[in-house]
Amino acid sequence: MLAVNMSEDKWEIPYGTLDLLILKTLDTMGPMHGYRIARRIEQVAENLLRLNQGSIYPALIRLEQQGWIRTQWGISETKRKVKFYSLTRAGLKQLSVEVANWERATALVARFLEAES
Protein backbone atom coordinates (compact mmCIF):
# COMPACT_ATOMS: atom_id res chain seq x y z
CA MET A 1 0.00 0.00 0.00
CA LEU A 2 2.83 2.38 0.74
CA ALA A 3 4.94 3.26 -2.24
CA VAL A 4 8.23 4.91 -1.76
CA ASN A 5 9.40 7.46 -4.26
CA MET A 6 13.10 6.79 -4.60
CA SER A 7 14.06 10.02 -6.28
CA GLU A 8 12.78 12.30 -3.55
CA ASP A 9 12.75 9.86 -0.68
CA LYS A 10 9.15 10.78 0.18
CA TRP A 11 6.09 8.62 0.71
CA GLU A 12 3.19 8.54 -1.72
CA ILE A 13 -0.10 8.94 0.03
CA PRO A 14 -1.42 5.50 1.10
CA TYR A 15 -4.04 4.36 -1.37
CA GLY A 16 -7.58 5.17 -0.32
CA THR A 17 -6.63 7.34 2.64
CA LEU A 18 -6.84 10.77 1.00
CA ASP A 19 -10.56 10.95 1.84
CA LEU A 20 -9.76 10.25 5.46
CA LEU A 21 -7.01 12.89 5.54
CA ILE A 22 -9.29 15.54 4.02
CA LEU A 23 -12.20 14.78 6.35
CA LYS A 24 -9.91 14.82 9.38
CA THR A 25 -8.32 18.07 8.27
CA LEU A 26 -11.70 19.79 7.88
CA ASP A 27 -12.81 18.39 11.20
CA THR A 28 -9.77 19.83 12.95
CA MET A 29 -9.40 23.13 11.09
CA GLY A 30 -12.94 24.10 10.12
CA PRO A 31 -13.83 25.53 6.67
CA MET A 32 -10.87 25.90 4.30
CA HIS A 33 -10.21 26.35 0.60
CA GLY A 34 -8.48 23.73 -1.49
CA TYR A 35 -4.96 25.11 -1.29
CA ARG A 36 -5.09 25.36 2.51
CA ILE A 37 -6.30 21.77 2.76
CA ALA A 38 -3.42 20.55 0.61
CA ARG A 39 -0.87 22.61 2.55
CA ARG A 40 -2.26 21.46 5.87
CA ILE A 41 -1.92 17.80 4.85
CA GLU A 42 1.66 18.44 3.75
CA GLN A 43 2.49 20.30 6.97
CA VAL A 44 1.10 17.60 9.21
CA ALA A 45 3.13 15.06 7.23
CA GLU A 46 6.17 17.31 7.81
CA ASN A 47 7.25 16.97 4.19
CA LEU A 48 7.47 13.18 4.42
CA LEU A 49 4.60 12.97 2.01
CA ARG A 50 4.78 13.47 -1.72
CA LEU A 51 1.36 14.89 -2.53
CA ASN A 52 0.32 16.16 -5.91
CA GLN A 53 -1.69 19.05 -4.56
CA GLY A 54 -4.04 18.91 -7.53
CA SER A 55 -5.12 15.40 -6.62
CA ILE A 56 -7.26 16.69 -3.75
CA TYR A 57 -9.77 18.31 -6.14
CA PRO A 58 -11.21 15.08 -7.60
CA ALA A 59 -11.41 13.81 -4.02
CA LEU A 60 -13.19 16.99 -2.91
CA ILE A 61 -15.87 16.80 -5.62
CA ARG A 62 -16.49 13.15 -4.76
CA LEU A 63 -16.82 13.90 -1.06
CA GLU A 64 -19.17 16.76 -1.88
CA GLN A 65 -21.36 14.51 -4.04
CA GLN A 66 -21.47 11.96 -1.23
CA GLY A 67 -22.81 14.73 0.98
CA TRP A 68 -19.91 14.53 3.40
CA ILE A 69 -18.62 18.04 2.77
CA ARG A 70 -20.30 21.19 1.54
CA THR A 71 -18.96 24.26 -0.24
CA GLN A 72 -19.43 27.97 0.28
CA TRP A 73 -18.00 30.83 -1.70
CA GLY A 74 -15.39 32.92 0.05
CA ILE A 75 -12.47 35.21 -0.72
CA SER A 76 -8.91 33.90 -0.78
CA GLU A 77 -5.85 35.71 0.61
CA THR A 78 -5.18 36.80 -2.97
CA LYS A 79 -8.63 38.41 -3.19
CA ARG A 80 -10.01 35.76 -5.46
CA LYS A 81 -13.43 34.13 -5.14
CA VAL A 82 -12.81 30.52 -4.07
CA LYS A 83 -14.72 27.60 -2.66
CA PHE A 84 -14.44 26.94 1.06
CA TYR A 85 -15.05 23.36 2.08
CA SER A 86 -16.53 22.31 5.42
CA LEU A 87 -17.63 19.08 7.04
CA THR A 88 -21.34 18.16 7.12
CA ARG A 89 -23.04 16.14 9.82
CA ALA A 90 -22.96 13.08 7.53
CA GLY A 91 -19.27 13.82 6.91
CA LEU A 92 -18.56 13.76 10.62
CA LYS A 93 -20.21 10.37 10.89
CA GLN A 94 -18.26 9.14 7.85
CA LEU A 95 -15.03 10.35 9.45
CA SER A 96 -15.59 8.16 12.50
CA VAL A 97 -16.32 5.21 10.18
CA GLU A 98 -13.13 5.78 8.22
CA VAL A 99 -11.05 6.22 11.36
CA ALA A 100 -12.43 2.97 12.75
CA ASN A 101 -11.69 1.18 9.45
CA TRP A 102 -8.16 2.49 9.40
CA GLU A 103 -7.52 1.47 12.99
CA ARG A 104 -8.87 -1.98 12.34
CA ALA A 105 -6.69 -2.38 9.24
CA THR A 106 -3.51 -1.22 10.96
CA ALA A 107 -4.26 -3.37 14.03
CA LEU A 108 -4.68 -6.39 11.76
CA VAL A 109 -1.39 -5.77 9.98
CA ALA A 110 0.37 -5.10 13.29
CA ARG A 111 -0.87 -8.44 14.61
CA PHE A 112 0.72 -10.25 11.65
CA LEU A 113 3.99 -8.44 12.12
CA GLU A 114 4.10 -9.40 15.78
CA ALA A 115 3.31 -13.03 15.01
CA GLU A 116 6.16 -13.03 12.52
CA SER A 117 8.87 -12.16 15.03
Binding site: G54, Y57, S76, R80, V82
Partner: protein, 269 residues
Protein backbone atom coordinates in the same frame (compact mmCIF):
# COMPACT_ATOMS: atom_id res chain seq x y z
CA UNK B 1 -23.95 2.24 -8.13
CA UNK B 2 -26.65 3.40 -5.76
CA UNK B 3 -29.13 6.09 -6.73
CA UNK B 4 -27.91 8.31 -3.91
CA UNK B 5 -24.49 8.60 -5.45
CA UNK B 6 -25.81 8.33 -9.01
CA UNK B 7 -28.03 11.38 -8.87
CA UNK B 8 -25.37 14.05 -8.28
CA UNK B 9 -23.29 12.41 -10.98
CA UNK B 10 -26.09 12.68 -13.50
CA UNK B 11 -26.74 16.27 -12.48
CA UNK B 12 -23.04 16.98 -12.97
CA UNK B 13 -23.47 16.02 -16.64
CA UNK B 14 -25.90 18.88 -17.10
CA UNK B 15 -23.68 21.38 -15.33
CA UNK B 16 -20.54 20.26 -17.09
CA UNK B 17 -19.48 23.66 -18.40
CA UNK B 18 -20.13 25.41 -15.08
CA UNK B 19 -18.24 22.76 -13.12
CA UNK B 20 -15.31 22.92 -15.53
CA UNK B 21 -15.16 26.70 -15.16
CA UNK B 22 -15.34 26.46 -11.39
CA UNK B 23 -12.51 23.95 -11.36
CA UNK B 24 -10.39 26.18 -13.62
CA UNK B 25 -10.89 29.07 -11.22
CA UNK B 26 -10.02 26.87 -8.30
CA UNK B 27 -6.79 25.77 -9.99
CA UNK B 28 -5.91 29.36 -10.76
CA UNK B 29 -6.51 30.48 -7.17
CA UNK B 30 -4.55 27.52 -5.90
CA UNK B 31 -1.50 28.28 -8.07
CA UNK B 32 -1.64 31.93 -7.12
CA UNK B 33 -1.63 31.10 -3.42
CA UNK B 34 1.13 28.55 -3.87
CA UNK B 35 3.22 31.06 -5.81
CA UNK B 36 2.73 33.64 -3.09
CA UNK B 37 3.81 31.19 -0.41
CA UNK B 38 6.82 30.12 -2.45
CA UNK B 39 7.89 33.74 -2.84
CA UNK B 40 7.45 34.31 0.89
CA UNK B 41 9.72 31.32 1.43
CA UNK B 42 12.39 33.02 -0.64
CA UNK B 43 11.92 31.23 -3.94
CA UNK B 44 11.68 34.48 -5.88
CA UNK B 45 12.58 33.55 -9.45
CA UNK B 46 11.22 30.01 -9.57
CA UNK B 47 8.09 30.53 -7.45
CA UNK B 48 5.73 29.84 -10.35
CA UNK B 49 7.50 26.67 -11.42
CA UNK B 50 7.53 25.43 -7.83
CA UNK B 51 3.79 26.03 -7.53
CA UNK B 52 3.16 24.14 -10.76
CA UNK B 53 5.43 21.29 -9.75
CA UNK B 54 3.75 20.80 -6.41
CA UNK B 55 0.36 20.87 -8.04
CA UNK B 56 1.06 17.95 -10.38
CA UNK B 57 -0.39 17.33 -13.86
CA UNK B 58 -3.29 19.72 -14.43
CA UNK B 59 -4.93 18.13 -17.47
CA UNK B 60 -4.66 14.67 -15.97
CA UNK B 61 -6.26 15.94 -12.78
CA UNK B 62 -9.13 17.55 -14.72
CA UNK B 63 -9.88 14.26 -16.45
CA UNK B 64 -9.79 12.58 -13.08
CA UNK B 65 -12.14 15.24 -11.72
CA UNK B 66 -14.66 14.57 -14.51
CA UNK B 67 -14.39 10.83 -13.92
CA UNK B 68 -15.12 11.27 -10.26
CA UNK B 69 -17.98 13.70 -10.54
CA UNK B 70 -19.98 12.25 -13.44
CA UNK B 71 -20.74 9.13 -15.43
CA UNK B 72 -17.95 8.60 -17.89
CA UNK B 73 -19.80 6.79 -20.66
CA UNK B 74 -22.72 9.23 -20.73
CA UNK B 75 -20.28 12.10 -20.71
CA UNK B 76 -18.48 10.61 -23.71
CA UNK B 77 -21.76 9.91 -25.44
CA UNK B 78 -22.86 13.53 -25.08
CA UNK B 79 -19.49 14.69 -26.33
CA UNK B 80 -19.73 12.41 -29.39
CA UNK B 81 -23.28 13.59 -30.01
CA UNK B 82 -22.25 17.24 -29.92
CA UNK B 83 -19.33 16.47 -32.21
CA UNK B 84 -21.69 14.68 -34.62
CA UNK B 85 -24.12 17.58 -34.69
CA UNK B 86 -21.30 20.03 -35.34
CA UNK B 87 -19.95 17.91 -38.20
CA UNK B 88 -23.42 17.71 -39.75
CA UNK B 89 -23.89 21.46 -39.42
CA UNK B 90 -20.55 22.06 -41.15
CA UNK B 91 -21.33 19.87 -44.14
CA UNK B 92 -24.96 20.63 -44.85
CA UNK B 93 -25.02 18.73 -48.16
CA UNK B 94 -24.01 15.54 -46.46
CA UNK B 95 -26.49 16.27 -43.68
CA UNK B 96 -29.29 16.69 -46.23
CA UNK B 97 -28.45 13.37 -47.89
CA UNK B 98 -28.29 11.65 -44.51
CA UNK B 99 -31.60 13.11 -43.42
CA UNK B 100 -33.15 12.18 -46.76
CA UNK B 101 -32.01 8.58 -46.42
CA UNK B 102 -33.27 8.43 -42.88
CA UNK B 103 -36.64 9.85 -43.90
CA UNK B 104 -36.86 7.37 -46.76
CA UNK B 105 -36.00 4.49 -44.46
CA UNK B 106 -38.56 5.54 -41.90
CA UNK B 107 -41.17 6.11 -44.59
CA UNK B 108 -40.68 2.68 -46.13
CA UNK B 109 -40.81 1.15 -42.69
CA UNK B 110 -44.08 2.80 -41.75
CA UNK B 111 -45.57 1.86 -45.11
CA UNK B 112 -44.54 -1.75 -44.48
CA UNK B 113 -45.97 -1.57 -41.02
CA UNK B 114 -49.29 -0.23 -42.35
CA UNK B 115 -49.53 -3.24 -44.62
CA UNK B 116 -48.52 -5.68 -41.90
CA UNK B 117 -50.95 -3.98 -39.53
CA UNK B 118 -53.83 -4.35 -41.98
CA UNK B 119 -52.98 -7.86 -43.14
CA UNK B 120 -51.53 -9.58 -40.09
CA UNK B 121 -52.44 -7.60 -37.00
CA UNK B 122 -55.96 -6.54 -37.91
CA UNK B 123 -57.30 -9.42 -39.98
CA UNK B 124 -60.62 -9.18 -41.73
CA UNK B 125 -63.54 -9.51 -39.33
CA UNK B 126 -64.82 -12.66 -41.01
CA UNK B 127 -64.42 -16.36 -40.34
CA UNK B 128 -61.40 -17.86 -42.13
CA UNK B 129 -60.08 -14.60 -43.54
CA UNK B 130 -57.01 -16.42 -44.86
CA UNK B 131 -59.19 -18.18 -47.45
CA UNK B 132 -60.56 -14.90 -48.76
CA UNK B 133 -59.10 -13.11 -51.76
CA UNK B 134 -60.06 -10.09 -53.78
CA UNK B 135 -59.85 -10.61 -57.52
CA UNK B 136 -59.22 -7.54 -59.58
CA UNK B 137 -58.10 -6.59 -63.05
CA UNK B 138 -56.52 -3.38 -61.79
CA UNK B 139 -53.54 -2.84 -59.47
CA UNK B 140 -54.44 -2.23 -55.82
CA UNK B 141 -55.95 1.22 -55.49
CA UNK B 142 -56.56 1.47 -59.24
CA UNK B 143 -59.98 1.55 -60.79
CA UNK B 144 -61.15 -1.94 -61.62
CA UNK B 145 -63.01 -2.19 -64.89
CA UNK B 146 -64.15 -5.78 -64.82
CA UNK B 147 -67.45 -6.00 -66.68
CA UNK B 148 -70.46 -7.97 -65.58
CA UNK B 149 -70.01 -10.40 -68.45
CA UNK B 150 -66.37 -11.02 -67.58
CA UNK B 151 -67.37 -11.69 -63.99
CA UNK B 152 -70.05 -14.12 -65.10
CA UNK B 153 -67.42 -15.91 -67.22
CA UNK B 154 -65.13 -16.19 -64.20
CA UNK B 155 -67.90 -17.54 -62.10
CA UNK B 156 -68.82 -20.16 -64.65
CA UNK B 157 -65.30 -21.27 -65.54
CA UNK B 158 -63.46 -21.31 -62.22
CA UNK B 159 -63.54 -24.09 -59.67
CA UNK B 160 -60.82 -22.89 -57.32
CA UNK B 161 -63.15 -20.69 -55.25
CA UNK B 162 -65.80 -21.98 -52.95
CA UNK B 163 -67.89 -18.91 -53.69
CA UNK B 164 -67.32 -15.98 -55.99
CA UNK B 165 -69.26 -12.78 -55.76
CA UNK B 166 -68.99 -9.20 -56.94
CA UNK B 167 -69.58 -5.76 -55.54
CA UNK B 168 -70.12 -2.37 -57.12
CA UNK B 169 -69.47 0.57 -54.83
CA UNK B 170 -72.19 3.13 -54.94
CA UNK B 171 -73.31 6.29 -53.24
CA UNK B 172 -76.86 7.32 -52.64
CA UNK B 173 -78.78 10.02 -50.86
CA UNK B 174 -80.74 8.81 -47.85
CA UNK B 175 -83.27 10.66 -45.78
CA UNK B 176 -84.06 8.74 -42.64
CA UNK B 177 -84.39 11.65 -40.26
CA UNK B 178 -84.43 15.38 -40.77
CA UNK B 179 -81.02 15.53 -42.42
CA UNK B 180 -80.54 13.95 -45.81
CA UNK B 181 -77.06 12.55 -46.28
CA UNK B 182 -75.02 10.84 -48.94
CA UNK B 183 -73.89 7.45 -47.84
CA UNK B 184 -71.73 4.89 -49.54
CA UNK B 185 -72.84 1.34 -50.08
CA UNK B 186 -72.48 -1.57 -52.40
CA UNK B 187 -74.68 -3.11 -54.99
CA UNK B 188 -74.18 -6.83 -54.70
CA UNK B 189 -75.67 -10.10 -56.00
CA UNK B 190 -77.80 -12.27 -53.75
CA UNK B 191 -75.01 -14.74 -52.88
CA UNK B 192 -72.70 -11.95 -51.68
CA UNK B 193 -72.79 -12.81 -47.99
CA UNK B 194 -72.03 -16.49 -48.63
CA UNK B 195 -68.49 -15.41 -49.48
CA UNK B 196 -68.03 -13.85 -46.07
CA UNK B 197 -69.88 -16.42 -44.02
CA UNK B 198 -71.73 -13.64 -42.20
CA UNK B 199 -75.03 -14.34 -40.48
CA UNK B 200 -77.32 -11.36 -39.95
CA UNK B 201 -78.04 -10.11 -36.45
CA UNK B 202 -81.64 -9.26 -37.35
CA UNK B 203 -83.73 -10.60 -40.23
CA UNK B 204 -81.94 -12.20 -43.14
CA UNK B 205 -79.48 -11.45 -45.90
CA UNK B 206 -80.45 -11.53 -49.54
CA UNK B 207 -82.46 -14.44 -50.90
CA UNK B 208 -81.75 -15.90 -54.30
CA UNK B 209 -83.85 -14.26 -56.93
CA UNK B 210 -83.79 -10.87 -55.25
CA UNK B 211 -80.99 -9.83 -57.63
CA UNK B 212 -83.01 -10.68 -60.72
CA UNK B 213 -84.59 -8.00 -62.91
CA UNK B 214 -88.04 -7.08 -61.73
CA UNK B 215 -87.53 -8.09 -58.10
CA UNK B 216 -88.49 -5.48 -55.55
CA UNK B 217 -85.47 -3.54 -54.21
CA UNK B 218 -84.17 -4.68 -50.82
CA UNK B 219 -81.35 -3.57 -48.52
CA UNK B 220 -79.23 -5.04 -45.72
CA UNK B 221 -77.89 -2.55 -43.20
CA UNK B 222 -74.47 -2.59 -41.63
CA UNK B 223 -74.54 -2.58 -37.86
CA UNK B 224 -73.08 0.89 -37.60
CA UNK B 225 -75.54 2.36 -40.10
CA UNK B 226 -78.40 0.77 -38.23
CA UNK B 227 -77.13 2.29 -34.96
CA UNK B 228 -76.44 5.76 -36.30
CA UNK B 229 -79.36 6.21 -38.69
CA UNK B 230 -82.04 4.12 -37.01
CA UNK B 231 -80.88 4.42 -33.40
CA UNK B 232 -80.63 0.63 -33.18
CA UNK B 233 -84.41 0.32 -33.68
CA UNK B 234 -85.28 -3.41 -33.35
CA UNK B 235 -88.38 -2.84 -35.51
CA UNK B 236 -86.32 -1.57 -38.41
CA UNK B 237 -87.42 -4.47 -40.63
CA UNK B 238 -90.84 -2.92 -40.92
CA UNK B 239 -89.37 0.24 -42.33
CA UNK B 240 -88.14 1.25 -45.75
CA UNK B 241 -84.81 2.81 -46.64
CA UNK B 242 -85.11 5.63 -49.15
CA UNK B 243 -82.13 5.49 -51.49
CA UNK B 244 -82.14 8.40 -53.95
CA UNK B 245 -85.87 8.67 -53.31
CA UNK B 246 -86.54 5.04 -54.13
CA UNK B 247 -87.92 2.89 -51.30
CA UNK B 248 -85.87 -0.23 -50.43
CA UNK B 249 -87.31 -2.77 -48.06
CA UNK B 250 -84.91 -3.44 -45.16
CA UNK B 251 -84.55 -7.21 -44.86
CA UNK B 252 -81.70 -7.51 -42.33
CA UNK B 253 -79.04 -5.96 -40.14
CA UNK B 254 -75.48 -7.30 -40.01
CA UNK B 255 -73.68 -8.07 -36.72
CA UNK B 256 -71.32 -5.50 -35.27
CA UNK B 257 -67.81 -5.28 -36.72
CA UNK B 258 -68.29 -7.17 -39.96
CA UNK B 259 -68.99 -4.42 -42.46
CA UNK B 260 -68.47 -1.43 -40.21
CA UNK B 261 -65.13 -0.30 -41.55
CA UNK B 262 -66.27 1.94 -44.36
CA UNK B 263 -69.51 0.66 -45.81
CA UNK B 264 -72.61 1.94 -44.00
CA UNK B 265 -75.05 -0.11 -45.98
CA UNK B 266 -75.41 -2.77 -48.59
CA UNK B 267 -78.14 -2.64 -51.10
CA UNK B 268 -79.25 -5.17 -53.64
CA UNK B 269 -81.25 -4.72 -56.74
Amino acid sequence: MRLRSMLPRLLALLRRRKLDRELDNEILAHLELAERDAMAAGLIPEARQAARRNFGGIEQMKENHRDHRSVRWIDNLLRDFRHGMRSLARDSGFAAVTLGLLALGIGVNSAMFSIVDAVLLKPLPFPEPERMVRVSEAPPGGRNGTTTLTFLDWKRQTDIFEALSVEVPTRAAVATGADPARVSGKQVPADYFQVFGVKPQIGRTFASGEDQPGASPVAVLSHRFWRTQFGGDPGVLKRDLMLDGEPHRIVGVLPAGTFDRDEPCSGSR
